[in-house]
Each structure stands twice: as C-alpha cells, then as structure tokens.
C-alpha cells in the first residue's frame, strides 16, 4: 500500500512522483549494486563531482568502490544498437565528500539516462522531463539551458589557447564578465572576440531574446549548427512550461571532456543551489569506447530538506499510559482502538520527556481515561 502523502516527507513524496513520471514515459528502472570496480572510477576521475571514493577489497582481492556516481555504471553496461535508445531511470544512493565538512555523505539521486541513437527528439524529451520533474516538486522553478557547442565555437573562434580555457570557462560559470575580460587580455585575445565571449556571460534570459542576440555572434559552421539545434529544441519546449521558467544561460558549464551539446540546470525557489543537473555526454561515451550518444539528468531530492516545512504541532496524537500490572491484551486492544480512529499512539509506562502530545490517556481497570487534552 502506498503511504498517504501527508505522512511522507517532502523529498520522499518527490521521489515517488518522479518515479511515476519516468515510468509513464517508458523509462524502465535500472537497479544497480551499491559498489563497482574501483578501476571504472579511476579511469574517469574528472567526470566525478567529488574525486574521493570509498574503497574496500573483496575477498577475491579485487579493489571495489562504493558508487560515487550512477551514470558511469549505466554507460559501461550500455550497448550500441543503431536506431535504438535505451531509456532508464534510477533512484540510487551515491557516496561523495561534502565540501564543507570534508567527510563522506550519502546522497540520494534520482535521474534518467537516454543512451543510444540520440536524435533531436530524444534531447527534447529529456528536457521536457526535466521541466516536468521540477514542476512535480514546485511551480516556482527555472530551467537554465546552455549549449556547449556554442561556447566551444566562440572560444575556438577567439583562438583561446588550451591553457586559458579552464579559467575563462570558470569565469563564464560565475557570470564574471570582468574576469573574462582580464583573462582575454592576458591571453592576447583581440577586442572583438573578447566582446563575443563577454556576450556569452551577459546574454541570458528569455529564449527568444537571447536567440536573436546570439545571431550577432561570429560563429563557425559547428557553432551555427549548435545554435540551430538549440533553436529547434526550444521551439518544441515553448508552451510546455510557464512563461519565464525556461531560460538560456551560458553559465551552466559542465566539463567539456565529457559533455557536449545541450547542458542544463534546474532551480527551485527556496533552494539555494541547483536541484537538477544534466546534459548530453557523447564525449564520455567515446571515452568509454561507445559509438552511441547519451543524454540524461539527475535530481537531488535531499536538497528539498532546505525548503521550509511547517513545524509539526504535535509529535504524537495520543500517549497511552499503562501500569506494571496492566493486562497486556487490554493494552493491545486500547492501542488498536486508538489507531483505528486514524490517530498515532505510543504506549508507555511513564510519560516520555519532551514529547508533545495532543492527548494523554491512562489505561485503568474501567478502560481508557483521558487525563489531559490539548485543543
């Protein structure tokens, strides 16, 4: 039996809705082991958000790791089949180092992956599901979409050398226009191309406005193709989300060694960091010896804990006190009678400290007597 929505925590409710959503779109659940061979993560360390991994040795002597990531496991087990897209969703716990405390944390991740013969429809569907995922949790959301093909084309057109790219991309991620300008000056990028890179930082917002502003960028053929793909995808998404909730924003930067094409991040009002993150990662597929493409995203429901939830008025509805000599069957009957009315009850021999109850009852020989009741 599904628990009533009211008894579930916000994040638990979200997880259950997301699973139902992905199921409706034909995504099947992908279950995996808690651990993988360490080698998989070492080979793709920079793909991982945290590069610290919990390892242990199996009795056979093989070095294993508690999963710090889900995508790598799915990609590893995928097969290249022309014309076919494997669509899976997952709800898994991953183990990463918390940046603030420096200690390991168990994080719940719900997400989906489309792996195989990816076309523009697949990209649209994943983005649509990202929008729907956010909407399942809250109406106040924003999905920022970027296209790494455009970013890459602008940087290449400007002749930015490899050693300066990471710093410029970091500034792009920070919306740091003054930083980009300073780095471009140091890297010897001319004024015109510097202006193009700065434009990526300062141009964001409503898709139609941004798309027309992007037309002015001097883009090579691959950049034009990327812009055209972004335009097609946004045309499909138009009308699928409330006005102002889908935006183009090039500060969404994922590692270009793994990601290419469209990347995106979702935000909910009241949660200080992105709750959804995803993108197309054909480059990772190539690195892992696959010829197919892939796109997917992950939602971090643990972050929903920071949404302000109404404080529970009472810890429990009824505290039922019984004595040393009470008839145990009578206690059981009294508990059953109270739970049958839909109330929660804790049977205790003495009043537990610091518990806030709605009603205090005592089991006597004549039955259950109310000692104290709060309105």
């Amino acid at each position: 039996m599904m628990p009533a929505a009211g008894t579930l925590k916000y994040d638990e409710r979200a997880v259950s809705r997301l699973r139902a959503l992905y199921g409706r779109y034909g995504y099947s659940q992908y279950r995996m082991r808690k651990f993988e061979e360490y080698d998989l993560y070492v080979r793709n360390k920079s793909f991982l958000i945290s590069d610290h991994i919990i390892t242990f040795t199996e009795p056979s002597g093989k070095l294993m790791a508690l999963k710090p990531d889900v995508t790598l496991s799915i990609v590893k087990n995928s097969k290249d089949t022309p014309g076919y897209v494997q669509k899976v969703y997952y709800k898994e716990n991953v183990y990463r180092v918390d940046q603030d405390s420096g200690s390991f944390k168990e994080i719940t991740q719900v997400g989906l992956e489309c792996v195989g013969d990816i076309d523009t429809y697949s990209i649209c569907e994943v983005l649509l599901l990202a929008v729907e995922s956010l909407r399942e949790i809250s109406d106040a959301f924003v999905l920022d979409i970027s296209h790494l093909g455009i970013v890459s084309a602008v940087l290449e057109g400007a002749g930015v050398a490899e050693e300066h790219r990471a710093a410029i991309l970091r500034c792009l991620g920070e919306k740091n226009a003054h930083g980009v300008a300073a780095l471009c000056a140091a890297a010897g990028v001319d004024a015109g191309h510097t202006a193009s890179i700065v434009k990526l930082v300062t141009t964001y917002g409503e898709p139609q406005q941004v798309l027309s502003a992007l037309e002015e960028l001097p883009l090579c053929d691959s950049g034009r193709a990327a812009l055209s793909e972004l335009r097609s995808v946004l045309a499909v998404l138009e009308g699928e989300a409330p006005a102002g909730s889908i935006r183009i924003d090039f500060s969404v930067i994922n590692d270009m060694n793994y990601y290419n094409g469209i990347v995106f991040r979702g935000f909910l009002e009241g949660i200080p960091s992105g709750i959804l993150s995803g993108g197309q990662y054909d480059n990772l597929m190539k690195k892992m010896g696959k010829s197919s493409g892939a796109i997917g995203f992950a939602v971090y429901p643990d972050l929903l804990e920071s949404l302000s939830m109404p404080q529970k008025e009472y810890d429990i509805d009824v505290v039922l006190l019984y004595g040393e000599g009470s008839d145990l069957s009578a206690v059981r009957r009294a508990v059953r009678t109270i739970t049958a009315t839909g109330k929660s009850v804790t049977a205790q021999k003495s009043l537990p400290g610091k518990i806030k109850y709605r009603q205090l009852c005592r089991l006597t020989e004549s039955g259950v007597e109310t000692v104290e009741e709060h309105a």
């Binding site: 924003v142 919306k175 740091n176 003054h178 935000f267 009002e269 200080p272 960091s273 992105g274």
Partner: protein, 209 residues
C-alpha cells in the same frame, strides 16, 4: 525582499553608500547601535553585517541573495556563487613577502606561513615549487622574523606593516578588490532588483574611474 550581506567594517560602510545611491537605502543602518539586521520594507531591502570572511557562506547558502566579498575570500574558499561585479573598492593585493634581502634556496622545500593556504598552494603548484604550508590566523609577519617560515603569503595594502618589520614584497600573486556576489538560485528568482542594482553600481563605478 532582497537580502544583502555586507562585510562589517569600513569596506562595508563604503559599499553601503554605493547601494544607497543605487536606490536601496536603509536609513536605520546608519544609527549607531549594535543591531546586525536592518530592514527597509519600502525599498524591499534587508541588510545584515557579517564577518567579512563569512559573506560568501551566507550567499552560497542562500541566507543572503547577494553580498560583498573580497576576491581573496572568493579565491580561497571558491564558493559556488556568481561574481557579478568588481566594485573597484577595497583594493589591495595578495603577495609573497619575506625578510629584506631574502634569496629562495630552491634545493629545499619553501616554508610558507599564511592564512590563505588554498591560494598559496595553488600559486606554488603553478610554479612547480614544493612548499610546506604553515597555517596561521594572524600576525603572519612575525613568522619569517622568528624563523618559523621563509616567506609569507598575505594581503598587502600600503606595505607599511611589512616595511616596519623589515619585510618586503617578493612577488604579487593577484590583485584583490571587493566583488558583488549573488546566490545562483536566488539570482533567478529575484532577478529584477538584482539587475537594477548591478546596473546602478556599474554606472557609479564608471563615473568614479
């Protein structure tokens, strides 16, 4: 309501004057008292004074929508925030300093005393120089005098403290100034007032340059 974290002290006061000119006034902030939070409902703004090194934490965690933090703090802690503007105030530099006449002996590890371990580590890693970090919380200048370290990595404003202690700047690592930072999520949901503030601050900066 736009929540703004300002660094306690002279820099915060200077920056508040810029915010006030931008239309985000909160007269009660100028009252001489020990309150830490000030609100002006009319302008839709709430200010709070926090320790300068904590501003980025308030903003990253969303308790403040925007704030003003030194570039030194942003480089050291690398918070996941937007850096919207260089306010061109609180200007100084992060530098390596040593006793006057110091010569680096590259045959051995360089002992570096600093409050900014991350910046020092990154700087010397980029040079391929092996170092031993000595983390101190204050009076860093004493370390080379007492032989605790070979050099220090610290903020230099006028250089007076260094000179008075017979120290000199060996090299500048990076120029520092105050930056306007914003929480990434709140930036989306309070975009209009933040953009309005940024536009006005940019105009003020241009005017003063």
């Amino acid at each position: 309501m736009l929540n703004i974290a300002l660094p306690k002290g002279r820099l915060g006061e200077r920056v508040y004057a810029m915010f006030e000119k931008a239309g985000f006034a909160c007269p009660s902030i100028r009252e001489n008292n020990r309150k830490l939070i000030f609100e002006n409902e009319e302008c839709g703004v709430r200010y709070f004074w926090v320790k300068p090194s904590d501003v980025a934490i308030y903003v990253e965690r969303g308790a403040a929508d925007i704030g003003v933090a030194g570039k030194d703090i942003l480089l050291e802690y690398q918070p996941d925030v937007y850096e919207l503007l260089d306010l061109h105030t609180g200007v100084c530099r992060m530098a390596v300093a040593a006793m006057a006449g110091f010569r680096d002996d590259v045959r051995r590890r360089l002992r570096v005393a600093t409050k900014f371990a991350g910046i020092a580590e990154q700087h010397y890693a980029s040079l391929g120089r092996e170092i031993d970090i000595i983390h101190l919380n204050g009076s860093i200048e004493i370390a080379p005098i007492l032989g605790l370290s070979d050099v220090i990595v610290d903020i230099v404003e006028t250089g007076t403290t260094l000179r008075e202690n017979n120290l000199e700047v060996v090299e500048t690592i990076v120029d520092i100034s105050a930056r306007l930072i914003a929480n990434k999520a709140n930036f989306k949901f309070k975009n209009e007032p933040i953009e309005r503030l940024v536009a006005s601050l940019s105009a003020q900066i241009e005017e003063n340059r």
